[in-house]
Amino acid sequence: MKLLVTFSRRKGYEPIIAKAVKETGVLIRVDRAHIDSSGGEVLIDVPEESCRIVSEKMGSLGAVVKVLEHPVVRDENECVDCGACVSVCPREVFAFDGEWRLVMAVEKCVLCGKCIEACPHDALSQQVPG
């Protein structure tokens, strides 16, 4: 399950991820991270059953945690199944089925955004976590 963790550095330099791993014992995979002097946005992958405990732990450490159920969304009316997205994706999210329809494995998505940029039909977008 993908979680988008955002935190600000105003609350000090808590090692949020390290603490969450240590205290929950859940192995967290970091898919993508952007951290600078003022704060950070980190995309992590955790087993579904540990989602709640990790979220709560990170929340208690001052981070905002959002579950990303559909990291990348396809507008079926716009998509023509061309496949421009297939080879630009670093995680093999996109593939064709036997009928040359585009199929997506969104759970592999790391939100790099390349497919959204590459889609000639403006059919892909990133889910804005609410």
Binding site: E78, V80, D81, C82, G83, A84, C85, V86, S87, V88, A95, F96, E99, W100, R101, K114, E117, A118, P120, H121, D122
Partner: protein
């Protein structure tokens, strides 16, 4: 044995014609043999659905009151060519909006019309005695137009070379996003279903032949522009009435960083009149070969890295320089199938009678490059041949002196063999002196990843490098990486007023 077109059309009328798609044909020929397939199959339908930039439509708006002779025509802020009579215009698919840029263009206007949406027409004129009106704004739907006739100068490319990129940065091209270091391969075309790949000798494809164009019954006008069948790159000029088109087969698109284009579905029904048609429609993806071209080289004749077949490309991976690289199709094979199947239904139900060419298309023609009569400025024409340099082992203070003496902001750094090792700027030197640290020699502060130019390179290409990499100078290097000169923005200024000619 041969079959006449009348016989085939009779079978269609009687409802017992055997119509198959080009995808089904190879197996039928393999099973029944060529003679058997000729006896069995009457029509083979083809189809393709992909980006076809060379698309557009002639539009007639009807006369306003008072009348206007439009000289400038805008549709949803996309300019159409108004240099044809008073209220006619040609709207090209790739023309970009004057207000929305790349995200909206001629293709989107055409799609909006087909979708039944309102489109704003704005026209300007200088006014004449017979056409006094100077300005006009109105909203139109497709129904309001007298004619909206799509005439596409170049559609249905026989096949198209695949693309990759050997440079270290992402390229945004009409072949889609090309990742650095051959990170992917993109291709276009329906392969086995491609209309012209199923009749490369233009035996039954020619002027007057009925076709499927964007959901409408249409016709082949003749050879397309850039038609080059002698090397397997034939094209078609086609037409159909936009009022009969469907959004299912006509989709505006934007290739990021490149521009607007139109995705169009085109299908040609091929009457199986003789063995030649049987043989050419038995073509498979494995038979249709294309080159993988390096779009990292910005010249007309880009180098090819290897040759592959559509069968290889469709597998999803091809080997490039010893590594497996993922492929992306830019055209839709699912849609191409949909075109071929819809066309099959049209033929079976008698909606589209078959016709033979009324005028043949040359199957041997070759496209020629442009004849350029003006001499094109090259980097060597304007570069500065006096290049101050330092060696990588010299002290930073020495470099500072040379910068002062040379009245320049850049010094090329040479290694022991006199080859380019790096570059340093006044900024690098100032920084090293202002913050004294461990850096003592030129090699400690130089940039080693130098963006360079070739002496033969067109100046526009060098100018684009300066802009893209945000650098102010390009060392010009020869074959063995020896420095021949330096090109700066100041040198580019020489181009104004034609001073480079002297």
């Amino acid at each position: 044995m041969e079959k006449s077109i009348e016989l085939i059309n009779n079978r269609i009328r009687e409802g017992n014609a055997r119509v198959v798609t080009a995808e089904e044909m190879p197996a039928i020929v393999a099973e029944l043999g060529e003679e058997g397939a000729l006896a069995e199959v009457d029509v083979v339908t083809t189809g393709t659905f992909g980006a076809m930039c060379s698309t557009g439509a002639f539009l007639n708006f009807g006369h306003s009151d008072p009348p206007i002779r439009m000289s400038q025509v805008f549709l949803n802020d996309v300019e159409a060519y108004g240099g044809i009579a008073a209220v006619d215009a040609y709207l090209g698919a790739t023309q970009q909006s004057t207000t929305r840029g790349m995200e909206y263009g001629g293709a989107h206007v055409l799609e909006d019309f087909v979708a039944g949406k309102r489109v704003e027409l704005r026209a300007l004129s200088r006014g004449t005695d017979c056409y006094p009106r100077r300005e006009l704004t109105t909203e139109l739907i497709l129904e309001d137009l007298n004619q909206a006739i799509m005439v596409n100068p170049r559609n249905a490319y026989q096949r198209y070379n695949a693309a990759t990129n050997t440079t270290d940065r992402t390229l945004l091209t009409y072949m889609g996003m090309l990742l650095p270091d051959c990170g992917n391969v993109t291709y276009s075309g329906a392969g086995v279903l491609s209309p012209l790949s199923n009749d490369p000798s233009f035996h039954v494809i020619g002027s007057g032949v009925t076709i499927f164009l964007a959901g409408a019954p249409g016709m082949i006008i003749g050879e397309g522009t850039q038609h080059s069948p002698g090397k397997g790159f034939g094209t078609l000029m086609v037409t159909a009435d936009m009022k009969e088109m469907s959004q299912d087969y006509l989709r505006a698109a934007t290739m990021t960083g490149y521009g607007v284009t139109m995705y169009i579905g085109v299908g040609v029904p091929l009457p199986v009149i003789d063995l030649e048609v049987v043989r050419s429609t038995a073509v498979t993806d494995a038979d249709i070969r294309v080159k993988v071209i390096d779009y990292g080289i910005p010249t007309r004749d880009r180098p090819a890295l290897r040759e592959v077949s559509y069968a290889d490309l469709k597998k999803g991976e091809v080997e490039i320089r010893g590594e497996m690289v993922k492929t992306s199709s830019l055209s839709s094979f699912r849609k191409a199938r949909q075109v071929a199947r819809e066309l099959k239904r049209w033929v079976e139900t008698g909606k589209m009678p078959l016709a033979l060419p009324t005028r043949r298309i040359d199957a041997r023609k070759l496209v020629r490059p442009m004849r350029e009569t003006a001499r094109v400025p090259r980097v060597q024409d304007i570069m500065d041949r006096n290049v101050p340099s330092v060696s990588d082992g010299e002290a930073i203070q020495e470099a500072a002196k040379k910068l002062l003496r040379g009245d320049t902001n850049h010094l090329v750094v040479l290694d022991r063999e006199g080859k380019l090792a790096g570059i340093i700027t006044t900024y690098d030197v100032s920084k090293a002196i202002a913050r004294p640290g461990r850096a003592k020699q030129v090699r400690d502060i130089m940039t080693t990843k130098v963006i360079t130019a070739n002496p033969d390179e067109h100046v526009d290409i060098a100018a684009r490098k300066l802009e893209q990499y945000n650098v102010s100078a390009l060392p010009v290097v020869g074959q063995g990486n020896q420095v021949l000169g330096m090109l700066t923005a100041i040198d580019l200024g020489k181009l104004f007023g034609g001073r480079w000619l002297k």
